[in-house]
Symmetry: C2
Subunit: 358 residues, 2 copies
Amino acid sequence: MLNRLRYILGTDLRDTSCRLPVMPKNKSTIYDLARLADVSATTVSAVLSGNWRQRRIAEDTARRVLALADEHRFSVNRQASGLRKSRSGLIGMIIPLHDNRFFSGMAQTFEKLARQRHLYPIVVSTLRDTALELETVRTLISYRVESLVIAGATDPDAISDVCQAHGVEHVNVDLPGRKATSVISDNFWGARQLTLELIAKSTPLKGAERNRPYFLGGLATDHATARRIEGFLDAVRAELPDGGPRQVDACGYEPDLAEAAIAALYQRLKGLPRALFVNSTIALEGVVRFLKTLPHDELDQCTFGCYDWDPFGSMLSFPLRMVRQNVDGLLEQAFAVLDAGAPEEPRIIEIRPLLVFG
Amino acid sequence: MLNRLRYILGTDLRDTSCRLPVMPKNKSTIYDLARLADVSATTVSAVLSGNWRQRRIAEDTARRVLALADEHRFSVNRQASGLRKSRSGLIGMIIPLHDNRFFSGMAQTFEKLARQRHLYPIVVSTLRDTALELETVRTLISYRVESLVIAGATDPDAISDVCQAHGVEHVNVDLPGRKATSVISDNFWGARQLTLELIAKSTPLKGAERNRPYFLGGLATDHATARRIEGFLDAVRAELPDGGPRQVDACGYEPDLAEAAIAALYQRLKGLPRALFVNSTIALEGVVRFLKTLPHDELDQCTFGCYDWDPFGSMLSFPLRMVRQNVDGLLEQAFAVLDAGAPEEPRIIEIRPLLVFG
DNA sequence: GTGAAAGCGCTAACAC
DNA sequence: GTGTTAGCGCTTTCAC
């Protein structure tokens, strides 16, 4: 109403001073632009949103409007257009941390895939804090994101409840939930492959106890670790039938704990085992700390693997086989689920990781 | 208008079917809530936005509205409220990459500081692509972010032009520009400190050529590298007056280039130098590749430093001194500039990095 | 080929 | 202590 008035009067009613009729630099509406171009706001809107061909707007008019918009550095207000269209053009993703190779890689891929779909990506970290996860999701919904990727959430099902209540499409990644489709790493397969590789590439040692691979790090209560242990044991049983439970020490993630664990193992076996499966780069830090105290040639007797990838892995003084999660694959599947759109029966999609050497 | 009508009629006009009068699950307005609570939309609005005390709304009313909002999982539409209030509650930051320790650390700190100010943080990467940087900034402005942190941009001044045209407060971080205040690392100081430390902690070698620290990696045309070289040379001149230009090889960032450079240096000096200043973890990768080919005890002759920090640095087989950028300090200053609000004369604020060992 | 008018969901000035 | 009304800037029928 006021817009129309302003448009008709050809003057900015907000401007109480008596300046020359210059468009205010930092604020202007399509009505201002319409006045300058001597067309209606409708026309401006159509031109700026790109669907002017189908409105059969004269090429001339379009060009004039576009030039003017450019000259005045006009920027459509997406709060307003989003409100009117009931579409924000936003897509959100929550991750536990930015400062982490795995999740920052996900953020990178997420942005790429979002842009391909002409959606503006918003990535927010929630610090493995259930309350912050929920609050963040609620705020994103408040901004009317069109869909959500929930990565590594501590309580995915609580988030699903919120999303469903607002009819927001979403998908879990990395950590599975039961109320929405989840795309996760195939931890069993990855651990099994890494273990098979370790056994194949290692040299047999004397003494039954030392002549086996050992698993170190992580928490057995944690879904991913549990599956990895299964994969590890499966491979061991297939290749070296006399394996037993004493080969697994899910000592936790902290470097200190891993350092103590490998030290204890070394003492028990009176040397390094034939192969060592370390469950994360965090745990690896503790292991390396211990390895540094050993004479250098002792390391040659053991073949090392790590379920996790870091480019620094290749800089260590011993060869290291790593499992690299297929970040691109995880997110491509996640987007495929969102693209499908149908609120399907929740299912779990497992993506195989990659074995990396060096 | 329609809202009011719907509120009066007590029925959802959008609902053309003849369902029971249940509030639609995934969409509802404060008018719907108002009807349920038997108050006006104004009251609901005041209650939900927290300023109901100052409107002297009865505690009772407030509680009822809040309970209802909760029960129906109501979520205020921030597109609408933002439009009305001309405030989006958003603050944006652009970074070159997510998948990078330095910038993902910045994202983490940025979020923390934004939340402290009750702003919703949006971090977007722009892949060191000038066009994408501009487009991203324009889109963020389109969503009406209230201010912007521009980190590591390839063309900060072009971005400043856009921001200024729309009256958006902004500040550069890491890479300086001339059209807005910039908060950057004190590269001169950091490089100087690291070099002094390397000289102090290294053991003198026979032969003038080997008895000096060498600088490796980066591009001399790059602002940061140039300042680091200055700091390096300044320290060398102070401590070992016979230093010369042959001590600096800004061979580029690629590991391959660094590997070739250190190999050439080794050949020229017939051994490792007394100390080596590597200009980034990327270059370090190439250096380590070469070092691995040397007999282990040769490394003891050289003291290593790296201008960049990575937790993996402590896992290398030789001691490494690192310079860690003060990410928190950089962003705290950046926010201080934004908090000040005054469009001050652009200036450069330098933040000292930290020396880390191990 | 273009314009007028209504309304997206919210907030704030002004009522009483 | 609470309600009425106008309007934020845009898109979308409908009209001609």
